[in-house]
């Protein structure tokens, strides 16, 4: 009885959490301009989206979002991983300072991150655009890379790298052959996290995009919603994003659960 009630409670909360998403999903299959009215099943919105007929600004917003995410996640991953190795080898006090600075962008609300970087650009007289957005994104993504690489470094045997050097490996070779394989899982999760953070970001982009007409998906949606109506093609786009993430998570979960099972058997 207790069990049933607990499960009912959980499923009710989940149902409420998913209700809005479900509505968008359902209404992506009708052509109605306004969400909530149904005028027959149709895949036209999907077709429009893929043919790029949803309007040039939506297309460029999608491209910008992906471009910014890939560039800033890549730079963050390299910068953060190298930094993590450095921080790991620092003395206590220096390390404390670095970890503190590293935690600032994570604690700061994104409106503050956005405004503060914006003020810097204003102060220095730098005109805002794609470059400034990417810089700002790197600034709030890299701390997460550092945090996901650090535990791998802690677990790693510190003598391995030294041993490689002693055996005649060049620092670069040792880095590639010894360090990198150990850090790769941490770097990968840092990269993925950075990608999602960057794609998801709204406030930081809004303040640093300037008035040159560069929009990401978030700022496009914001402008769209303020104008009153939401571009209907956003519904299929949103559904595709949601389903993709759902599938990715299912695959990821399935793989990790299989791995842990394997690990359990080996023991």
């Amino acid at each position: 009885m207790k069990k049933v009630l607990a499960n009912i409670y959980l499923w009710v909360v989940i149902a409420v959490l998913y209700a809005p998403i479900l509505i968008i999903l359902i209404f992506s299959f009708t052509e109605a301009k306004v969400l909530g009215s149904w005028n027959g099943f149709s895949l036209n919105l999907y077709a429009n989206l893929f043919k790029g007929e949803a309007g040039p600004s939506l297309n460029s917003a999608i491209i910008n979002t992906l471009l910014i995410a890939v560039v800033s996640a890549s730079v963050s991953t390299v910068l953060g991983s190298v930094a993590a190795i450095g921080i790991h080898n620092m003395k206590r006090r220096q390390r404390k300072v670095m970890t503190f600075v590293n935690s600032i962008p994570m604690i700061n609300p994104d409106i503050i991150t956005g405004i503060s970087i914006f003020l810097l650009f204003v102060f220095l007289g730098i005109s805002r655009g794609l470059g400034t957005i990417i810089c700002a994104h790197i600034a709030f993504c890299t701390p997460y890379v550092v945090l996901s690489v650090m535990p791998r470094l802690m677990k790693m045997n510190p003598n391995l790298y030294e041993a490689a050097l002693d055996l005649g490996a060049t620092p670069f070779y040792a880095l590639r052959k010894v360090m990198f394989p150990e850090l790769r899982p941490g770097m990968l999760s840092g990269f993925i996290l950075s990608l999602t953070l960057s794609i998801d970001d709204f406030a930081v982009t809004l303040f640093n995009k300037g008035s040159g007409g560069i929009d990401t998906l978030s700022t496009y949606i914001y402008a769209d919603a303020r104008k009153g109506g939401l571009t209907p093609e956003l519904r299929p786009l949103f559904s595709i994003i949601f389903i993709t993430i759902l599938l990715l998570l299912v695959v990821y979960n399935y793989r990790t659960s299989k791995q842990t099972k394997k690990g359990g058997e080996e023991k």
Partner: protein, 253 residues
Amino acid sequence: MEFLLALFGKRKAWAWPYAVFMTIFVVLPLVMVVYYSFVDANGFTLRYFHKFFLANDSINTFIYSIGVAMITTLVCALVGYPCAYFMANKEFGAPKVMAMLFILPMWINILLRTLATVALFDFMKLELDEGALIFGMVYNFLPFMIYPIYNTLQKMDPALTEAAKDLGATPYRVFKDVVFPLSLPGLYSGVVMVFMPTISTFAVAELLTMNNVKLFGSIIQENINAGLLNYGSALSLILLVIIGLTSFLGDDE
């Protein structure tokens, strides 16, 4: 090349590029916020803080936002704690995927999630008022509450509750004297993680109430947008102080 090799031969030096980057894009910008709050074209001034405390509009919004954030946090804790508790306890037999299901919506753009909430309210012919605002905030930030509590509960040694039971404690007392006190760190971080974004988001409130209700974040954004950088910075600084206090108090426990 020689110089570079000497410079980066020591591995701790590898953190330097990042240190330089962070100084430019994290530390300096915060210095800018302080600078613009206190210095304008006429030099040092306190008039922007003066303006904040005298302008009824801003201070009221400020207090109102703190109220909304508190209610949101409270509702999140009341709804989220049982969720975390049921999921972490094996005896309820909740499937393991459940925890994943709670975080999944977080991967969806916050604006889209908010618009989806608006759509839900429209669909059910409900009014977009303060109730909608609280619902939307809770909807957006509930996972932030559930997850830390779930984590601490899951890491808890089950031997502790068993020992309490063996020693004759009723289920209620096991919860009150053992489980709940041990879950407090998770609850605290959940509170911080919900309170902070609630008080600072601006677009969410705008979209949820058709711009009828303004939160503190919106006021900041409007001022910055209107080019009132000094006043916007002063408001940002006030928000920063609140955030600092909240996370400091959260750390303390």
